[in-house]
């Protein structure tokens, strides 16, 4: 059995140039440590490998029950020149939410 990021957290994607940032915000602060252990930058890189060249950096925001993932080379060259439909990558938070994590039990 595994759980998804979706089960523990909500997320929003933002863009700057060719970089996407995706917040992962725990519903319950008690899940923060689990997410810190399992949702590593490597795990996120793997989930985005067909979309983003990376690298992926993770910043902790414990006060906010959150993490900020910064994913470089993720937006087809950037909003102004991208051929994608979703030039801002607004929908990329849903790739994050679909990542499966091992069950804690």
């Amino acid at each position: 059995m595994s759980i998804r990021v979706y089960d523990l957290a909500h997320a929003r994607a933002g863009d700057k140039g060719n970089t996407s940032n995706i917040s992962v915000i725990c519903y319950d602060a008690r899940d923060w440590d689990f997410i810190e252990r399992e949702l590593t930058p490597q795990r996120v890189s793997e989930a985005f490998r067909h979309i983003a060249k990376g690298p992926v950096k993770r910043y902790p925001l414990r006060n906010l029950k959150a993490f900020n993932f910064v994913i470089e080379n993720a937006l087809g060259g950037g909003v102004t020149i991208s051929l994608a439909q979703d030039i801002h990558g607004k929908s990329l938070s849903n790739v994050m939410l679909a990542i499966e994590l091992p069950d804690r039990t």
Binding site: S23, N68, V70, V79, T80
Partner: protein, 450 residues
């Protein structure tokens, strides 16, 4: 109701295409002191520079007319001052258009304070050695195609414009949070070395700069993150006090939601290193921020920290970078995906045979893999819309993509339906450089009599 010593700053737009009615609701019954319209995306100033080169009276945000027509009577009646970057590539032209709108609405002779100096194209032209932040190349590499160069000015010059007493302040490029910080600096006399207050005001500006994104827009998820009455979602405001305390609220009796969850999503939005969010006013650190639900639809913001502002402005350089051409057509029923994939190969081959070249080319199966890729691992949908897009220097090559996609009706695999007209758009690309602040002459002029 607002309490004494509080300055209430409303967010009326977070993009030039933002909804307008919630701004009117704020002006009419939000009990606000300031209404801020942030209307410039990365490319907007470039686009407006092109408009201005065709007609010197234009170049401000085309949405200015409709927006002001809607809110000006309520703002004037309620003593709400307007701050906006709708001046875009022609703030003086925007100010004249604003004054004409006010006169036409019977509001009399309304002076407008205009922020100038963000247009630094004549300065960077002589500095081809400046490095592009995106790729380290010299600015020289894009100078021949440069359309615009605008510095993200800070709150100081907007504050100076507010100090003139003009009821409306219009600028070109100003950093988004700075538009909101400026009224606080003006009202409370905050200086740049008062870092905890500058930090709080900047955090508030960041929370407000995307309007409804903090009041339940771009948030809802049925059954998981419900948003009540989303169709009537209201816009937010910040209640600021001289000591730097900030509470975010929203127009009473509107839909949407404002709570710690919506504020957290917006606080982290478009931030990279959360200890170093660079604005022209400070380097903001959001890691110490706590958000507390004060009461329904009111969230208290505490603990923002900042380091002093840097000595450079970020400058967005817009330049022409060829064309993007697009075409779309649909396939449905048995083997819809196989026919769509075959059709894509046929179009690519026809483009190749005509000798067209593309710097980048993309095939999307909408309904399957257009957003997150991986067409070979997704379950097949009943119907799929094929989209082809390419970027090129050659306008004919761009147009040919949509032309050949539409021609699939008669010349492709069986059962293609509903092709769109060929689409071609100019690419206005943007790259950035850092420019020493002392080279930039930010200043205020007033249109009309104070």
């Amino acid at each position: 109701m607002k309490s004494q010593g509080v300055v209430r700053i409303g967010a009326g737009a977070g993009t030039s295409d933002d909804r307008m009615v919630p701004a009117l609701e704020l002006a009419e019954r939000g009990n606000i002191d300031y209404l801020v319209f942030e209307c410039l995306a990365e490319r907007t100033v470039s686009r407006e520079n092109l408009s201005r080169s065709k007609n010197p009276d234009q170049g401000y945000s085309p949405s200015l007319h409709a927006r002001l027509r809607m809110v000006l009577p309520a703002c004037m009646r309620n003593g709400v001052r307007i701050v906006s970057n709708m001046g875009a590539a022609n703030p003086v032209g925007g100010a004249r258009a604003t004054r004409k709108e006010a006169a036409d609405l019977g509001l009399g002779d309304v002076p407008v304070a205009v922020v100038l100096g963000d247009d630094v194209s004549s300065i960077v032209k002589h500095r081809p050695e400046l490095r592009l932040m995106e790729n380290g190349e010299p600015l020289e590499s894009i100078l021949p195609a440069m359309i615009s160069a605008n510095a993200y000015l800070g709150a100081d010059v907007v504050c100076e414009a507010l100090n003139t007493g003009a009821p409306i302040v219009l600028s070109g490029r100003v950093a988004d949070p700075s538009l909101f910080l400026a009224p606080m600096m003006h009202e409370f006399g905050w200086a740049y070395d008062d870092l905890p207050k500058i930090a709080q005001g900047t955090a508030a500006g960041h929370l407000l700069e995307c309007t409804a994104s903090v009041t339940g827009g771009c948030f809802g998820w049925p059954g998981k993150k419900d948003v009540p009455d989303l169709a009537r979602n209201g816009y937010p405001f910040a209640d600021a006090r001289a000591d730097g305390s900030i509470v975010i609220g929203k127009t009473p009796d509107t839909g949407g939601r404002l709570d710690v969850m919506t504020c957290t999503e917006q606080l982290i939005y478009e931030i990279h290193d959360p200890t170093a969010y660079l604005t022209p006013d400070c380097t903001l650190d959001i890691t110490g921020i706590t958000l507390t639900q004060d009461e329904s639809d009111r969230v208290r913001v505490e603990g923002a920290r900042a380091r002093p502002r840097t000595d450079t402005y970020k400058v967005s350089v817009g330049y022409a970078d060829g064309y993007i051409g697009e075409g779309e057509v649909s396939y449905g029923g048995i083997d819809a995906v196989a026919r769509a994939k075959w059709a894509a190969e046929v179009v690519k081959e026809r483009l190749r045979l005509q000798g067209f070249k593309y710097e980048d080319f993309r095939v999307d199966l909408i309904g399957m893999s257009s957003l997150h890729g991986e067409p070979d691992t997704r379950p097949e949908p009943y119907e799929v819309r094929l989209r082809l897009a390419g970027r090129t220097r050659d306008r004919k090559a761009a147009h040919a993509i949509g032309f050949e996609t539409r021609a699939l009706h008669m010349h492709g695999p069986g059962g293609a339906g509903g092709a769109c007209e060929p689409r071609v758009r100019d690419v206005l690309a943007v790259k950035s450089v850092l420019l020493p602040k002392n080279l930039v002459n930010a200043q205020v002029v007033v249109e009309g009599a104070l």
